[in-house]
Subunit: 212 residues, 2 copies
DNA sequence: CCTACCGATCGGTAGG
DNA sequence: CCTACCGATCGGTAGG
């Protein structure tokens, strides 16, 4: 009765988590039933509970595992002695690589976290807020250091993260773009939009095209 | 018995749609029950069906209304005789304004469309694919015309759309940034990352910071 | 890992 | 707009 989870090299539960990830991304967490997951594996729904505690546990493990990967990475970047634009480039490239290698779980972490039950929900939101603040701080310092143009650091963080976080949902329908093309082009667009060019290029083409 | 919908100046059904939008964005379409919507209005769930056909109908109307607004706008832009970078700027600003003025419905159209039932689902996906192709074409022409740097048009479209589409989910927690700051900073970052600068600035800072 | 089954909740209908 | 109620499905448990 007492949830004897096999302590092996991590097998049965991993299979469940993998299938669950796939389905959570495809149909959404709420729209995915335990019976869907069980069927994808080839067992009956109640059998899942020999390996997991609850449906929520699956979501928690996905969300926090991804969040911790990002937190670990930014810590490493902060501790390095690179220039600020290099730090931002490293972080942008890490985000893109995460989207490419862990797209299902990153997508879930980005879009399904609101279904976390309450102690975890606040926890997760805190972790995200802190991450964004640390990223903002790097951009702020880069502006002070004249590496970046004068731009609102918080808006920049929002824009960068959502730009990268969104590629997954597009990528699904067409894998027409290979990983390297995607990464280099996104870096070109985002990083060079951020960098400080030593000439007032930003004012040149500012026409009266403002209103829609 | 026959769904006599009041043809008035659009009142009761609008209230339902409004409340539904709010809840669909907050909790997600699947996690929102008809009883949730009814309770938010102050009536019983079955009473909703005097004004609407089904829960799916609510989602359909939201998704297609938003999609049509974007389609109408890009048609107008295409028919104008502006330069390509102005066309892109107009479209970026329209997207940002939509996020700010219709954030709930744009969010639903962006994230909950996969729950559309089948004749509508394919329809919606087609409309989105076409929109992206038309946007790509403007960028491609702008590159040919030397207004934009050499960049993959499709990746650029994905990046621009997801950058703007993501601001909503961030904006929720902190309304610290006012609309004008948000718009000007996003345009600065995204449009200037795209524009062709008449000097090889993009190569200057390209260090060996590639691998994470 | 299964069968049998639980209370809760779902979208929606009947009928007034 | 309500009460009464439907068949279906949900996450999960009991017990082996």
């Amino acid at each position: 009765m007492a949830k004897i989870i096999p302590v092996k090299n991590g097998t049965r539960k991993d299979v469940i988590t993998k299938k669950a990830s796939r389905l959570f991304r495809e149909k959404g967490f709420t729209a995915t039933s335990m019976r869907d997951i069980a069927e994808a594996i080839g067992i009956e729904a109640p059998s899942l509970y020999n390996h997991i505690v609850s449906k929520n546990e699956l979501l928690q493990e996905i969300c926090f595992r991804i969040a911790n990967l990002f937190t670990t990475h930014i810590t490493k970047v902060e501790q390095s002695s690179r220039r600020y634009h290099v730090k931002i480039e490293l972080i942008i490239r890490f985000h893109i690589k995460m989207m490419l290698n862990e797209s299902e779980n990153v997508y879930i972490s980005d879009h399904e976290w609101r279904h976390l039950p309450e102690p975890y929900l606040s926890n997760f939101k805190n972790q995200r807020r802190t991450y964004r603040a640390r990223l903002s701080e790097i951009i702020r310092q880069g502006i002070n250091n004249k590496e970046f143009k004068k731009i609102d650091p918080y808006v920049t963080v929002l824009t960068l993260l959502s730009a990268i976080g969104g590629i997954e949902s597009w990528q699904r329908s067409k894998k027409s773009v290979d990983a390297s093309t995607l990464e280099e082009n996104m870096v070109k667009l985002l990083l060079e939009g951020l960098k400080n060019h030593p000439y007032p290029v930003s004012e040149i083409q500012k026409s009266k095209s403002t209103n829609n």
